[in-house]
Symmetry: C2
Subunit: 363 residues, 2 copies
């Protein structure tokens, strides 16, 4: 059953963290209460660390502001963006769970065509717990969904599928457009509910949006780095795109699957297109070189872990994208720092000490 | 507007032929009358040529039986299958139009979720007349549809898309399952209407079903050969699959797009799974080698026309698949014969004489 449900069973209750980057009080959680309350939240506070972020009563959470990030990571905190929602990836790093769901604080519960509230998290979990089909396209979409299967001509040897690393959800109402499209089509709204989940085929890149995204930390976590954006950086709004290109190349290399489609959330407010244009404009022309780079990137057989893949990719970024702008040299270095920090917080021997070094663990 | 409509405008009225393979009276056309009557039909009669096929009044059609095929193609008629719906590709060859829509005679008009009859042909035409996006995945599906666009992060240089060669439509009610799946799930029905059209990315193969299929003859016609199936052949039910693998490899090579999704037709009756198993069983294990062959097939830069690509592919089939079974050597030869016959009927100087040699051109 891929349909929305009013009575969510808290699947993976103790194995999943919800990561939310924010600069404001988290009133939006009220609407998500029936679905999120059983889970642990990791809130990454961006901007002024002295501001107090209010979290509605009854949620189980830990909150990190910039001071916490600096204290926990020391000099390696340089790899975590500031004044940009890219800071959310710090939450991925400090989580001790197998799965992550991340959502923006301007995203609300959407309704399916029958008028039922969509339990986005439940659908993401279903997406992650069923295999993907990256090696051959199934024309009836997700073959593991109830009432569906593989169609005639689908090779039987591929029907076990591949482990799913990432589940990319979509948005009703405000579509995730770039600044030029926002400017040209200020009134366009996404009202179409496409009742499908599909695997992005191997070798194909896609624009991954961080608004409504779930992934398996154990399978792909160390590649889910949102790059250098915001304060002191020449671009913004490419944090999730960067992560999307990297996770796709690495998932393809490691034989993992990436799904997109259901679930939808309700994206309430378009961000300012003029501000966005300023953040994006370098990315808009850089991506014309970045995407061919990722499309042709190959990793060596020796890279068998996500970390090894990511380090190898960082070297290729430095070599091939460095000539575009010094930014990419810095980014390649930050990719290495990110992996070092990830391993520091996530290796078993370090786990205890890092846990005690954690920030505000409130309830 | 990609939605179904009750008042179809006969788009491409003089540029599209509807090809129907059949062994029985075409009563199913009654239901399609509002949508098909403005168009010309090419009926390919399979089986006993002495049987008279009744076509409902008021349709404009030409009909070819086996005697006609033998007379028109002479010894080259060997490339056209007998006692198998693969014979339909003869209709693609004798058409003089730019576009083809082919449909099975057990397919009826489906309804969209609002209860409206779906004009499948109109949607196929829209799919063919708008570009495809084979080089990068758009997460909101077809960006050329009204109310949709390219999402943030989609490279601007790719937004013109690629010409669309093929539009693959789907089926409500009886899904297109292979015999083993039919046997295991005899009661499974497809009731899910997925409101999307999407491009199969470059480098990805898919199982193309011939039940509800449209294509641009000028762009891809000579590759739309349905192979050797049925009478005297060791397999059946792989005719459309074979064509699908070939057209996808060639479309990828030539920079053309292949779409799948809308429109749906209502597939009324499951074929007999025991009969199907007999037809399919060799294909089921052969495809485990055929698909890797097509996945790794590359064509030389010198092959710039569909015909050149197809001849090059036939040589690779002979060399790489021939060792599996003598069938593939015959098939490779038939691929060459098909191209020779195609060119004979479709080169301008030959067009007149072939036209006068046509079969029963009734109205």
């Amino acid at each position: 059953m891929a349909e929305a449900s009013h009575k969510p069973v808290p699947l993976l209750k103790d194995e999943l963290d919800i990561v939310i980057p924010t600069i404001r009080n988290l009133d939006f959680l009220e609407m998500w209460r029936p679905f999120f309350q059983p889970y642990h939240l990791i809130i990454v506070q961006d901007g002024d660390p002295n501001k107090v972020i209010k979290v509605p009563e009854g949620f189980d959470y830990e909150l990190y502001n910039r001071n916490d990030i600096n204290r926990i990571l020391g000099p390696k905190a340089s790899c975590i963006s500031f004044k940009d929602s890219a800071c959310r990836c710090f939450g991925y790093m400090v989580s001790k769970k197998k799965y992550i769901y991340t959502i923006d604080d301007d995203c609300f519960v959407a309704k399916d065509p029958s008028g039922k509230d969509i339990n986005a998290l439940e659908q993401h979990i279903k997406n992650l717990l069923t295999p993907s089909t990256p090696h051959f396209f199934n024309t009836l979409y997700d073959p593991y969904r109830e009432g569906a299967d593989f169609v005639r001509g689908y090779p039987f040897s591929l029907r076990e599928g591949a482990p799913t690393a990432v589940s990319h959800g979509l948005w009703l109402n405000i579509p995730d457009y770039d600044a030029p499209t926002q400017l040209v089509k200020p009134r366009e709204r996404n009202t179409r509910y496409v009742d499908a989940v599909l695997t992005i085929p191997k070798g194909t890149l896609f624009p991954m949006c961080g608004m409504n995204l779930a992934f398996d930390r154990e399978l792909i976590g160390p590649a889910m780095y949102f790059g250098l954006m915001g304060d002191g950086q020449p671009i913004g709004r490419y944090d999730d795109m960067w992560a999307g290109w990297c996770i796709k190349v690495i998932s393809d290399h490691l034989g993992l699957g990436v799904k997109t489609g259901l679930p939808y959330i309700w994206h309430s407010k378009a961000s300012n297109p003029f501000v966005n244009l300023k953040k994006e404009y370098k990315g808009i022309f850089w991506q014309e070189e970045i995407i061919p780079f990722f499309q042709s990137a190959t990793l060596s057989k020796d890279s068998t872990s996500v970390q090894q893949c990511y380090i190898e990719l960082s070297k290729q970024v430095k070599e091939k994208l460095g000539p575009i702008d010094p930014y990419f040299t810095n980014l390649a270095d930050a990719m290495v720092t990110w992996i070092e920090a990830w391993d520091e917080l996530n290796t078993p021997s370090e786990a205890k000490s890092s846990k005690s070094a954690n920030g505000v663990a409130a309830k």
